[in-house]
């Protein structure tokens, strides 16, 4: 079994990267691999529990919530979170943590593979 770290630098809706990363990570978890995410720059918006979009059954945050529930570790860059006005991540789903680049460096140290999206 492998350990895969994802670097996510773009937000929900605007580009497709949040979806692609979630799908790859979901498939990896199902196969029994370990998965971690570092959400950097606009990537931090993906963990919000407050997203509401009637056109879609599930919003991007729901996919990330499910990844956490399936065992993924998700850490968002705290500097990015507060720069982008997201108040220490108080509206993030439970289990989506606010941390720093040292957390990411540790993920990378443990990872067998790193995928940036």
């Amino acid at each position: 079994m492998a350990n895969i770290n994802f670097l996510l630098t773009e937000g929900p809706f605007q580009t497709e990267k949040w979806a692609t990363a979630a799908k790859i990570a979901g498939a990896a978890l199902k196969k029994g691999h370990s998965v971690s995410f570092f959400c950097y720059l606009d990537g931090i918006y993906n963990g919000l529990s407050t997203q509401k979009f009637a056109d879609w059954e599930k919003v991007p945050g729901d996919y990330y919530k499910e990844l956490v529930e399936a065992g993924a570790k998700i850490v968002c860059c705290g500097i990015c979170v507060n720069a982008r006005g997201q108040q220490d991540g108080q509206f993030f789903y439970e289990g989506i943590k606010v941390g720093g680049i040292p957390d990411w460096a540790a993920f990378v140290g443990e990872a067998d593979r790193v995928v940036t999206l």
């Binding site: 630098t9 720059l41 680049i101 040292p102 990411w104 460096a105 990378v108 140290g109 990872a111 940036t116």
Partner: protein, 116 residues
């Protein structure tokens, strides 16, 4: 575990923030417990960052911190310069020009390759 990490800077400065947030990431990678070893390569539109006159104000602090931790190469790809009509005497001293063939060797030699 300590890893060898290649940072590819491929987006044009300064339209997007990666040119400096990527260097913030380099600092973090080098200063963590694992003390990862980093090499920075500027290619594609990222090559413009190597221009002598390009504004380093936002990123200078990271470059200094990186230098304080360990000697780190800032490489710019010759073919990317040629495609943009940039001659070597237009470049800032911190950059060393390498051919794409060299970057291919670096990719083989590093554990992890990020694009920024």
């Amino acid at each position: 575990m300590e890893k060898k990490i290649l940072f590819l800077f491929i987006r044009a400065p300064f339209g997007s923030i990666q040119y400096t947030e990527g260097l913030r990431a380099v600092v973090g990678m080098m200063s963590g417990l694992d003390e990862h070893k980093v090499t920075c390569v500027y290619l594609g539109e990222g090559a413009y960052y190597a221009l002598k006159g390009s504004d380093k104000a936002e990123s200078a602090g990271y470059v200094k911190t990186i230098a304080d931790i360990s000697e780190t190469d800032y490489l710019v790809v010759k073919e990317s310069l040629d495609e943009r009509g940039i001659s070597e005497d237009e470049l800032d001293d911190m950059f060393k020009v390498v051919a794409r063939d060299e970057v291919a060797k670096l990719i083989a030699d590093n554990d992890i390759v990020f694009d920024f």
